[in-house]
């Protein structure tokens, strides 16, 4: 297949007088873990909202594996294999951990049986077991998701992304608010995921970005400022000015680039 996994052309989204995403073009060839960084208000999350269908663009096109998904409803885009996590951790708080995974695994089915016991579906039950093992939450399977620690909720979210077997995964600040230990664990899981799935990650933690991303795109004021490998981005003058200009961040980048 020659089509890139994700292709965005002239994408524009305005909120009143504010242009959050401004004539943005972006191509994701796939096979590499891609990070999007940029200062607050650069339009990163808006871009994810446009790709996943939570917002409709004012102009432009979004193509997923050659297929135009512009303006489709969120559930339709999700069914094509584009999954995402939300910046604010978002699970089903009153359902237990296993049911959170369970509902995610079966959500794409056109027909949801109204009267057969859900517990009887062996195939999905096994998938849930495997995923619980993989994200390390097997012990907490019966706990309501709303009672989990912050880091465990984040892992559950990644598990939900995993069990859905996506083709493209959009992660919105997956390590935001995590302790260093939780961050390490999450980075490990994301790395393992990137072996089989195309991932785009929005991340503020520069250490994480430079550690895991193969490509970095820098957004500022709704447009793409620069794109390239971590080394190229770290060396880019415009990026330094717009985003990494502050001295303490500069140290960060150089440190990471030389790591």
């Amino acid at each position: 297949m020659s089509d890139p996994i994700l292709r965005i052309e002239g994408l524009t989204k305005r909120f009143g007088g504010l242009t959050a995403v401004d004539n943005l073009g972006y191509t994701l060839t796939g096979g590499r873990l891609h990070a999007i960084i940029g200062p607050n208000g650069a339009g990163k999350t808006t871009l994810f909202n446009l790709i996943s269908g939570l917002l409709a663009p004012d102009a432009g096109r979004i193509l997923f594996a050659g297929r135009d998904i512009t303006g489709l409803k969120p559930h339709a885009i999700s069914r094509l294999g584009v999954k995402r996590t939300l910046q604010i951790k978002s699970v089903f708080p009153r359902l237990n951990v296993a049911d959170n995974l369970w509902i995610t695994a079966q959500a794409e089915r056109r027909f949801l049986h109204p009267f057969r016991a859900a517990a009887r579906d062996r195939g999905i039950a096994e998938k849930v077991e495997r995923t619980l093992e993989r994200i390390g939450l097997a012990e907490l399977a019966q706990r309501p998701a709303g009672t989990l620690s912050y880091g465990d909720v984040a892992l559950l979210e990644i598990g939900m992304a995993l069990i859905a077997e996506p083709r493209l995964l959009l992660l919105d600040e997956p390590t935001c608010g995590m302790s260093p230990a939780e961050t390490d664990r999450a980075v490990e899981v994301i790395r393992a995921l990137a072996q089989s799935i195309d991932i785009v990650i929005i991340e503020h933690d520069m250490e994480v970005v430079f550690e895991i991303a193969a490509d970095i795109t820098v957004m500022a004021q709704g447009a793409i400022l620069a794109s390239g490998t971590p080394q190229e981005i770290a060396a880019d003058e415009r990026v330094r000015e717009a985003y990494l200009g502050r001295p303490e961040d500069e140290d960060y980048v150089e440190e990471a680039a030389h790591a």
């Binding site: 559930h75 999954k83 089903f92 049911d99 079966q106 016991a117 859905a164």
Partner: protein, 341 residues
């Protein structure tokens, strides 16, 4: 099975046995009047279950379920009185009319959530309440429609109908029990889990691929089925239909019963409905302000037991079992998935 679940099962079986024994037990102990009170409680519980399905399991608070109750009533009454239908087709017409109405109004209503949803459901029920009041040729307006019951079963010269009080009670019990059993199956099913996911977090539900709008509409029609069946039963029980049952006051009562009993639990609506109707029947003959008790109980429950009386009972039960050491070992020996009965 955990200890609280085992205790709950015993209570449930005892309750079911009591319900079946009512036509013989109650006249022997008290007087036959209470059999029909219990039949009425069963019907209104089913109506409250329709509020519960939407509020407790999908997260949509409807203040307009009386509309579908009314359509169930009128379907039966018009079927029998105007169209001359026999018993079963009239019952079917009532349920079908309610579901059709739920589908038509639901197409608009489930686009909205929370207070907007509550308001649009009230508006729909008011529109049809006033239409029913003014179109006397069809609905009888304020007077309603009185009709003569056709027999439920007729074989040659043998007839069995709701005019037999014992059969009437058992018929109502059977229909209500069937509906609650179907709802139980629904909650445990893949569709039921999808509804719970939407209740918990609708944005997330859409992102994992659930068609939130369609699923809410399905739930709305199923709730229309429950309310319509309750209305059809109530028409058969009272041998009449009236527009007054479509007023939003009726919807509001079911919301209170559900919240007090425990929204999001299968049997919460039965508990809430039973308490309020029993209070009404017992107190109203002595004291005209019996609704003050209703209000007081509702406020106390909302403040001190936000998961309703059934939720309170489960917390107490869990706390009691937690304290006993042997209960802990029983749980460890037999881990099982806790399901909502």
């Amino acid at each position: 099975m955990t200890r609280p679940a085992a205790i709950e099962r015993v209570v449930l079986i005892a309750f079911a046995a009591f319900l079946v024994a009512v036509p013989w037990l109650i006249p022997a102990l008290f007087n036959p009047f209470w059999v029909s009170v219990l039949a009425e409680i069963l019907i209104w519980s089913l109506f409250a279950a329709s509020v519960n399905l939407l509020f407790g399991y999908v997260g949509l608070l409807s203040f307009g379920q009386a509309l579908y109750f009314g359509f169930g009533m009128y379907g039966v009454a018009i079927g029998i009185d105007n169209l001359g239908l026999p018993f079963w087709p009239a019952l079917g017409l009532g349920v079908l009319a309610a579901m059709t109405m739920a589908l038509v109004t639901g197409i608009f209503a489930v686009r909205l959530t929370w207070h907007y949803f509550a308001i649009i459901t009230v508006v729909f029920s008011l529109i049809f309440y006033f239409l029913a009041l003014t179109n006397k040729w069809l609905t009888g307006g304020d007077d309603g429609i009185n009709f003569t019951l056709p027999p439920t079963f007729a074989l040659g010269g043998w007839r069995l109908g709701l005019s037999d009080p014992t059969f009437q009670y058992l018929f109502i019990l059977a229909v209500v029990a069937l509906c609650f059993w179907l709802m139980h199956r629904l909650i445990e099913s893949p569709l039921g889990k999808a509804l719970l996911a939407i209740r918990d977090n609708d944005v997330r539900a859409s992102l994992i691929g659930l068609n939130v709008y369609l699923l809410r509409l399905i739930a709305f029609v199923l709730a229309g089925f429950l309310a319509g069946t309750a209305g059809a039963l109530f028409a058969l029980f009272g041998r009449y239909a009236s527009a007054s049952y479509m007023f939003y006051h009726v919807s509001g009562e079911a919301v209170v019963w559900t919240v007090v009993g425990g929204a999001g639990t299968l049997l919460g609506p039965i508990v809430g409905t039973a308490i309020f109707i029993l209070v009404r029947e017992i107190v109203s003959s002595q004291w005209e302000h019996h609704e003050l008790i209703v209000g007081l109980v509702a406020i106390l429950v909302v403040i001190f037991a936000p998961r309703g009386l059934v939720g309170l009972w489960r917390d107490v039960l869990a706390a009691m079992c937690e304290r006993k050491p042997e209960a802990r070992s029983a749980i460890a020996a037999e881990p099982s998935v806790q399901v909502e009965p």
